[in-house]
Amino acid sequence: MWRFLVGRVLQTLLSLLVVVSIVFFLTRLSGNPIHLLLDVNATERDQEILTHHLGLDRPLPVQYGLYVKNVALGDFGNSILTRRPVTEHIWERLSATVELGLVAMVMSVLIGVPLGVYSAVRRGSLLDSGARIFAVLGQSMPTFWLGLMLILFFGVILGVLPAGGRGGITHLILPAFTLGYFTSAAILRLTRSAMLEVLGSDYIKFARLKGLHEQVVLWKHGLKNALLPVVTFAVMLFVQFLGGAVVTETVFAWPGLGRLILESITTRDYPIVQAGVLVLSALYLTGNLLVDVLYSYLNPRIRRARA
C-alpha cells in the first residue's frame, strides 16, 4: 500500500512539473510580456529597465529555473492589472469557488443518489420514468439558460432569491442548483445502473432470504457497494466544478476562480492565467490522487491487488 501511495504521489509531482513547464513555455510563445506590462507611451529605456527587472534578459533555462523555484515557493508574481500579488487574487476567488462547488456537489449527491436508488428499486415505475426524464433534462439543458430561467422565476417572479452576487446562503441556492443539476442527473444515472447491478447479486438475494428489512438491504448492503463509482465520480466532479463553473459564475456574477481566469485571459493578465491554470491542475491531480487512495481504501480487492 505504501509503495503504491509513494508511487502515485511521485507521479502527481511529475505531472505538475510537466504542467508548470507547458505553462512557462506557452506563455513565452505568446509574445513579449513587457508589451503587456508597459504603458502605451513607454520609451525603449522603460522597456529595457522592466526587462532587466523581470529577469527577461537572462537565458531561457535560467528564467525557467527561477520560475520553477518561485512556483515551488508559491510566488506567482503580481497581477498586471492590479499589481497585487497573484496569490491574493487566487485565494479570494478560490474560496468563492470552493463554496459554490461544495454546495453544488452536496446538492448533486443529495438529489442524484436517492433518486437513483429508488429509480433502480422501482424499475419501470412512474417514479423511474420521472427520474429518467429529470436526468435527460438535466444533461441536455444549457447551463446559462437554466441559470437565467431560475433567476427569472425565483428571483424576479417569486422574488424569493437574489439574482446574483455572493452573499449569504440565499445567494448560493440558484447558482449551486444550476451547477449541480447537470451532475445530479449524471449521478442519478450512475447510481441507478450501479444499484441495478448490485440488486441482482447473490449476496443481496441472501440478505433478503435472511429476512433482513428491505430498507436495510437497500441502504446498508446495496448502496454501500453501489456507491463506489459514485464517490469517485463525486470527488472528480468537485474538482471539475472548481475550474469549470465559468458560465454559472458569469450568469450569477459569482466572483469565482473560473471567472477570474476568463477575465484575465480577456485582459491578458498572464500571471493570473498561469497561476490559475497551475492551481486548477494541482487540484485536479490531487483529486485524482485522492480518488485512487479512496478507491483502494474502500475496495479491499483493489488494495490487495495493488499491494
Binding site: V106, I151, G155, G165, K224, A253, T266, R268
Partner: protein
C-alpha cells in the same frame, strides 16, 4: 458505510464553515448601487493613465476632481480652479486655485499638486500636451501658470478632457508610489475610496468636506455584473438601483416593467468600423470602393431598432454632432446591391476573406450584426470580442489586423477626436493621409475661429470622401433606473454616458 458517513460529516463541516464565512449582503440605508457592464480596472483610479475613452470617468468623477471639467449645463465648469485666464497671445494660461479645498487625507490642494499631476500624466493626450507645453510654474501655492511653446487654441480642451487636469496629491503619491496609489487612491473628489475587489465591486464613501457640496448618498457601490439579463434581474429585484447597458429585447422588457425607468442617453460615444489595412497597397482595403462597399453593406437603422430601440442617432461621423467644429457628412444608406456592385468593380465579385473584426466585448452586440451584414455582402470577417481594457490597449499598440470596431465617448471637440483617431501620431492611428495631416497641423495653430472651423470641416470632408472609416452611429446608452432613485445623474452632464456628478445623485426620501 463508516467511510461514507465520515466523508459526509467532513463535507458538512466544510460547508458550514464556508457559509459562515460568507459576508452579509444586506443593503444599508443611504447606499446606491450600480450594476456596471464591465470589470472596473485599477488603472482608472489614476487620472494620469486616462485613455481616450469615457469609461475611466465613471471612477474619476467620484474619487477625483479637476481644475476644470464638464458639469451640468457647463462643459467647462470651474472645479479646483475657481478662475483662469489666457494671455492675449495665447501663450500663457493662469489658473487660480479654489481656497480651502482638501484631499481625502486632509492635505490641502496646492499648485504643486497641479504641477505634479501634469508632469506625471501619461494618458491619451500625453503627446500633444508634452509637445506644446514649455513650462509649468507655481508662483504661489494657489496659482499655476502654464506656458506654451506656441499658441494652441485647443489647449484647454486637451488639458481639460483627457485626464491631465485631474489632480492627485503629490506627497501621498510620492510616498506610496504609482502602484500603491492604485491600491488605495486618494483624491479631492466627492467620494473616498473604501475598497476594491477586482471583478466584483468598488465601494466608495461620501467625503463630507467636498467643496462643491456634501454628497447626498453615503455609500456608492459599483458592482460588476457581466451578464445583461442578470443586471436587469438585479434591478427588478431592487438589488441594484441603476443598471447600465440594457439593450435589445431586455430594454423592451425594462420599458414595460412598472416601477423601473428606461433612461436612453444619446451621449458623445460614436462607433465606427476602422480599416487598419487601407494603407497597405496589397490589401483589398486599399481600394476605396471596397471600403465604400463595407459602409453600404451595413443596415444601421435595423441594428439601431433592434439594439437601442431606435434611440441612437445615425450621424455618419466619428465626431459627435454636439461637438464644436462638427461637420455633417452625407450618409451611405443601406444598399446591399450597391455594395456587391462596388466589390465586383474592385475585382472581388465573390467577396474576400477579410480576417478578424476586433471589438470591445461590451459592445459586441453592435459588432455581431455588423459582422453579419459584412458577411452577407461577401466581406467574410470573424468577430473577435476583447474585454474593454485589453481591447483599447491592443488598439493603441497597433496589435490588431483587419477591421476594428472603433469607439469613443471621450470629451473634447472635433480636433481632439481627429487627433486621437485620424491624424498621424494619434494614439489609435494605424496610418494617415498627408493632406489630412497637413490640415490638422494647420488648424492646430490657427487662432482665427472661423478659419479654424473651415479647416476642421475640410478634414471631416476628407475623412468622408476617403471612407477612412465606416461610421456606425452616435450611440444611445440605455440604462435602467430603479424606484428608490430620485436623481440618477444619467444624462445630466451633456454628452456623458454614466451617472455624474456623484454629489448630485439622490435617493428618494422614505
Amino acid at each position: 458505510m463508516k467511510t461514507v458517513r465520515g466523508l459526509s460529516t467532513t463535507v458538512l463541516i466544510l460547508l458550514t464553515l464556508s457559509l459562515g464565512a460568507a459576508p452579509s449582503d444586506a443593503a444599508p440605508e443611504g447606499q446606491m448601487t450600480w450594476a456596471v457592464h464591465i470589470s472596473l480596472a485599477p488603472t482608472w483610479f489614476d487620472p494620469a493613465e486616462t485613455s481616450g475613452i469615457i469609461t475611466p470617468f465613471m471612477v474619476l468623477y467620484a474619487l477625483h476632481d479637476a481644475l476644470v471639467k464638464p458639469m451640468p449645463g457647463n462643459p467647462t465648469a470651474p472645479g479646483l480652479a475657481e478662475s483662469w485666464t489666457a494671455s492675449p497671445d495665447g501663450l500663457v494660461y493662469e489658473f487660480v486655485l479654489r481656497k480651502g479645498v482638501r484631499f481625502h487625507n486632509g492635505e490641502p490642494v496646492t499648485a504643486e499638486d497641479v504641477k505634479f499631476s501634469f508632469e506625471r500624466y501619461r494618458g491619451a493626450a500625453y503627446k500633444p500636451l508634452k509637445e506644446s507645453v514649455a513650462a509649468i510654474e507655481t508662483p504661489d501655492p494657489s496659482r499655476v501658470r502654464i506656458r506654451l511653446k506656441r499658441p494652441w487654441p485647443d489647449f484647454m480642451t486637451f488639458y481639460m478632457t483627457a485626464g491631465a487636469s485631474w489632480i492627485v496629491p503629490k506627497k501621498y503619491v510620492e510616498k506610496v508610489g504609482d502602484e500603491g496609489f492604485k491600491k488605495a487612491p486618494i483624491g479631492a473628489g466627492p467620494y473616498k475610496f473604501v475598497s476594491f475587489t477586482p471583478g466584483v465591486e468598488l465601494v466608495l464613501e461620501a467625503f463630507d468636506q467636498y467643496w462643491r457640496k456634501p454628497p447626498s448618498v453615503k455609500r456608492l457601490v459599483l458592482r460588476a455584473i457581466p451578464d445583461e439579463a442578470t443586471r436587469l434581474a438585479a434591478l427588478k429585484r431592487g438589488e441594484v438601483d441603476i443598471a447600465y447597458a440594457i439593450r435589445g429585447a431586455l430594454a423592451e422588457d425594462l420599458r414595460r416593467t412598472p416601477g423601473l425607468t428606461l433612461k436612453p442617453n444619446v451621449g458623445q460615444a460614436t462607433f465606427w468600423v476602422y480599416f487598419t489595412d487601407q494603407w497597405d497597397p496589397r490589401s483589398p482595403w486599399h481600394d476605396r470602393r471596397v471600403r465604400l462597399a463595407a459602409s453600404y453593406a451595413i443596415d444601421r437603422q435595423a441594428i439601431n431598432q433592434a439594439e437601442t430601440l431606435g434611440y441612437s442617432k445615425i450621424t455618419w461621423s466619428i465626431i459627435p454632432s454636439s461637438f464644436e467644429f462638427y461637420w455633417q457628412p452625407p450618409g451611405h444608406a443601406y444598399d446591399p446591391i450597391k455594395a456587391k456592385q462596388l466589390l465586383t468593380e474592385a475585382g472581388y465579385p465573390n467577396g474576400f476573406g477579410a480576417g478578424d473584426y476586433f471589438c470591445d466585448a461590451a459592445i459586441s452586440n453592435v459588432g455581431e450584426p455588423v459582422v453579419n451584414y459584412l458577411n452577407a455582402a461577401g466581406i467574410r470577417v470573424k468577430l473577435r470580442p476583447i474585454e474593454r481594457a485589453a481591447f483599447f490597449k491592443g488598439y493603441a499598440e497597433k496589435k490588431f489586423k483587419g477591421l476594428i470596431q472603433g469607439g469613443s465617448g471621450a470629451f473634447g471637440n472635433a480636433a481632439t477626436r481627429i487627433e486621437a483617431f485620424v491624424a498621424a501620431g494619434g494614439t489609435y492611428v494605424y496610418g494617415s493621409y498627408a493632406d489630412i495631416d497637413g490640415l490638422f497641423l494647420e488648424q492646430a495653430t490657427e487662432l482665427d475661429p472661423k478659419r479654424r472651423e473651415a479647416t476642421l470641416h475640410r478634414i471631416q470632408q476628407l475623412i468622408h470622401d476617403k471612407v477612412l472609416v465606416a461610421p456606425i452611429w452616435l450611440n444611445a446608452g440605455i440604462s435602467g433606473v430603479g424606484p428608490r432613485v430620485e436623481e440618477s445623474g444619467i444624462g445630466v452632464i451633456a454628452g456623458y454616458a454614466f451617472s455624474a456628478p456623484y454629489e448630485d445623485v439622490k435617493l428618494k426620501a422614505k
